[in-house]
């Protein structure tokens, strides 16, 4: 009897649930061939739109080989099977109360430094960050030094006497007048 009641209750709940789903489906309308629309998607949750999650995912690389971060890949390459899984991993870790840095550390521990969109600023990676800046500063210093030397050399060279102008004094005066007017 209890079994029968339980079964009845079960079927009742199942029918109600099926009805609800069917109602939703009817409201949404079933498309002719879902396969054509690519991989089925899960409904978007509040966490998917959480700015902190998005910022965190933009620092982590998708491992599908696309070269994009997890956020960009999961919202761009809808055929990728890696980025949704990695997104779920980020959600799980943040759901456990872990900070952004702890999540990143966990990803690095699991997938290596390759999991980051930019290498951490330590050890040999510092060369990656600072060599371009140092090279430019060094080149700028060399350039200033060379320019100073050139200007000194130019000043050291005795000024060659200016050849007499071909223009008449009247023409020169007119030239000066034009130049002054242009500079005004």
């Amino acid at each position: 009897m209890i079994d029968r009641l339980g079964r009845r209750a079960f079927f009742g709940v199942a029918a109600a649930a099926a009805g609800a789903v069917l109602q939703d489906t009817v409201r949404a309308g079933r498309v002719y061939d879902p396969e054509r629309a690519g991989r089925p998607q899960l409904p978007v949750t509040a966490a998917d739109n959480d700015k902190r999650i998005q910022e965190l995912e933009k620092r982590l690389r998708c491992s599908c080989g696309c070269g994009l971060d997890i956020y960009t890949c999961r919202t761009t390459d809808f055929a990728c099977t890696y980025s949704p899984a990695l997104h779920q991993q980020v959600l799980r870790l943040t759901g456990q109360g872990k900070t952004a840095q702890q999540v990143i550390d966990e990803f690095v521990a699991q997938y290596g430094q390759e999991a980051l969109m930019a290498p951490p600023k330590r050890g040999f990676n510092l060369a990656g960050y600072f060599v371009p800046s140092l090279a430019i500063i060094l080149a700028a210093a060399v350039l200033v030094r060379v320019l100073r030397r050139w200007t000194r050399e130019a000043q050291a060279v005795p000024a060659t006497p200016t050849p007499p102008p071909d223009a008449t004094p009247a023409e020169l005066e007119r030239l000066q007048r034009e130049l002054k007017r242009l500079d005004a």
Binding site: R27, G67, Q113, A118, P119
Partner: protein, 678 residues
């Protein structure tokens, strides 16, 4: 057809070899017969390669799937528009396209170069034939586009859906034209070094070719950005992908050259530097090709990994060693004709501009190669992505933008304090005024504030230059201001066309800064449901999902979502975004479903909608809605840049004064016509 194409390749190989040998020997021994033979070889080379291209195209249009290349990149139902572009959709075909365009340039340079520059032509023929022969060698021994399959498939694999976009029809050829045409200035530089004719004549011969190359590369990069934006669906246009970086490197170096060449033309300085820049730009173009084709660095753009990379690596190393050995041996002949008179001069500002351009090029190259370096030295695999490049390059880019405004304000030779005050007053006011407007408008993003304010400063510089020039013409000739501006452009195309390019650069930087204000959201919507998103333009946009439709097109099955857009509650338009499942002629799916973005473009913002997919096979769909500010200005800025470049390039428009060749170097400034004194 395939046999004819294959034979043409062998013929081109032999002709290329002949052209290279006769060009070098004829040039060195000054033998007119060999020089003429080298010249003829460039014509024959082009003819042979053109036959190969036509053979491959006929095979593609006839659906000759016995050819591996045709089967790999086309299908029976591929639209005709894309059948043509299949020529360069894959590694082998693009090598053929590259060699053919190079041979076309090699021939054109022989026809179009006249007068005193003809002395360089045998060496130019030799260098271009050598490079073309290298590409033909790669095709013949590692990547033959005429390779046959052992069986005949019923249909081909088809073209990657992402390549089936108008942007992809024009982007690769433009980029290739840019890459390939760098060979011509490089060939002239090598010719000048070999012939020891190192006065400034060679500069005149190559400046326009460098500009042609720069222009094509600019167009290629811009169309590539547009394609990435409309096709890839991530909402941006530049991702610092290694292949994008590889295309940017020669562009940066050529931009540096186009500035520093002015110092050589006007003052006879920087000869060594300019030669090094041209050689460097060409080597970087080969380096870019090596990266794209070797698979040494992971990139979404890369062709399939193949042995082709080794050929390019060997060629790159050999070319670098030989070029710089020749360059070093000629250094004593490259002494400057003048010295720098002041640190505060146009010459010095050009050098700092060059420092920044080359600095950016170096940091991009360093970031691109650092993962390889890290793995080789530390054994650690790392990723160097946009956060790294943005951190390193944004400050340098802002400094470069500032130099774009500073350079034209400083006089040649020596600038006095009163002159500097007078020159900087208006542009600085313009920059500060822009900053204040932004602050009042509530903009607080430091990067955007700096980019747009410096943009205001540069724009002030350009307006001041045009205004002064127009005023001078008005005083002298009584021309109206609009007519005077047109006359300025017509009579000094290099200078004022260059300023238009500077305005374009400002537009581009402002547009780049706009991306700091991007807003986006994801939403799951049933038909009739809406999502709201507030843009930084102050408007609230409501996106209502109207429904899903499915239908068949020529080579694809389409699932389309229609979105109604309202701005602040008022009707604003409709967007359509699609999922496309490409199929072969038998209706079988070929690639993974691709996404077509819905874009509504405006002066202030772009509305960008992507259909991610459907929930449970129903019309309930997942969307990503993005509001991208100022993207329209990237394309318009690019258009203005091309117009500016074309004005600079257009023949005539004032003589190019070259120090050391014909007459004295001209001073920057306004031409003053001296009327006879009554």
């Amino acid at each position: 057809m395939a046999l004819l194409g294959h034979l043409s390749l062998w013929l081109a190989f032999l002709v290329g070899l002949w052209g290279a040998i006769t060009g070098f020997v004829g040039g060195i021994q000054n033998r007119a017969d060999l020089q003429q033979s080298a010249r003829n070889a460039t014509f024959a080379l082009f003819a042979a390669l053109l036959v190969a291209v036509i053979s491959l195209e006929i095979s593609i249009f006839r659906h000759d799937f016995s050819l591996e290349y045709v089967a790999a990149y086309t299908s029976r139902n591929l639209p005709t528009f894309y059948l043509w572009s299949a020529l360069y959709a894959g590694q082998k075909g693009s090598l053929l396209f590259w060699a053919t365009v190079l041979s076309l340039f090699a021939m054109l340079v022989q026809i179009m170069t006249g007068g005193r520059h003809r002395v360089y032509l045998p060496f130019v023929a030799a260098v271009t034939c050598t490079v073309a022969t290298f590409f033909i060698t790669v095709m013949l021994f590692a990547a033959n586009p005429f390779e046959r399959l052992t069986f005949m498939p019923l249909d081909g694999r088809g073209m990657n859906p992402q390549l089936q976009n108008p942007g992809m029809v024009f982007h690769p050829p433009m980029l290739y034209l840019g890459y390939i045409s760098i060979t011509i200035p490089f060939a002239f530089a090598i010719a000048a070094l070999l012939s020891k004719r190192l006065d400034s004549d060679w500069l005149v011969a190559i400046r326009k070719w460098t500009l042609v190359s720069w222009l094509f590369l600019s167009i290629g990069l811009l169309i590539g950005m547009w394609w990435a934006y409309v096709e890839l669906g991530w909402g941006g246009y530049w991702a610092w992908d290694p292949v994008e970086n590889a295309a940017l490197l020669p562009w940066l170096v050529m931009t540096a050259f186009l500035h520093s060449v002015m110092v050589q033309e006007k003052r006879g300085m920087l000869k060594k530097w300019n030669l090094a820049l041209i050689i460097g730009a060409w080597l970087l173009s080969i380096f870019g090709t090596f990266i794209t084709r070797s698979g040494v660095i992971a990139s979404v753009h890369s062709f399939t990994q193949s042995s082709v990379g080794y050929y390019f690596l060997v060629f790159l190393v050999l070319a670098s060693v030989l070029s710089f050995a020749l360059y070093t041996s000629r250094l004593p002949l490259l002494e400057a004709e003048a010295t720098l008179e002041s640190m505060v001069s146009r010459e010095a500002s050009f050098l700092f501009n060059n420092l920044l351009l080359i600095g950016i090029a170096f940091s991009v190259l360093w970031g691109t190669l650092f993962p390889i370096l890290s793995e080789a030295i530390k054994g650690t695999k790392i990723t160097v992505g946009p956060p790294f490049f943005n951190q390193v390059n944004i400050p340098l880019g802002l400094a470069l933008l500032a130099m774009t405004g500073i350079g034209p304000l400083i006089a040649w030779r020596r600038a006095s304090i009163p002159n500097l005050k007078r020159q900087f007053a208006v542009p600085l006011t313009s920059g500060i005024f822009t900053l204040l407007i932004l602050l009042v408008a509530g903009v607080r993003d430091v990067g955007a504030l700096m980019a747009i304010s410096i943009g205001g400063f540069v724009f002030g510089t350009v307006v001041q230059e045009f205004a002064r020039g127009a005023r001078a013409r008005h005083r002298q000739y009584g021309e109206s201001t609009p007519y005077a501006v047109v006359q300025l452009l017509a009579r000094n195309r290099r200078r004022y066309g260059g300023y238009i390019v500077h305005v374009a650069i400002v537009m581009l930087f402002v547009a780049f800064a706009g991306m700091a204000f991007k807003t986006e959201t994801e939403a799951t919507l049933r038909p009739g449901e809406s999502a709201e998103l507030k843009g930084r333009d102050g408007h609230v946009y409501t996106f209502t999902h109207l429904g899903i439709s499915q239908y068949n097109a020529l080579n694809r099955q389409v699932t389309a979502a229609l979105i109604d857009v309202r701005r602040d509650g008022k009707a604003f338009g409709r967007l359509r975004t699609e999922k496309r499942q490409h199929v072969d002629a038998l209706g079988n799916p070929t690639f993974q479903p691709s996404t077509e973005v819905g874009i509504m473009s405006g002066l202030r913002v772009d509305l960008y909608v992507v259909l991610a997919g459907l929930v449970n096979g129903t019309e309930q769909a997942v969307f990503r809605f993005t509001i991208n500010p100022l993207v329209w200005w990237v394309w318009f800025g690019g258009f203005v840049l091309v117009i500016g470049g074309l004005i600079v390039l257009w023949p005539g428009g004032g003589p190019v004064a070259v120090r050391g060749s014909k007459g004295p170097g001209s001073q920057a400034g306004y031409a003053v016509k001296l009327e006879p004194v009554p």
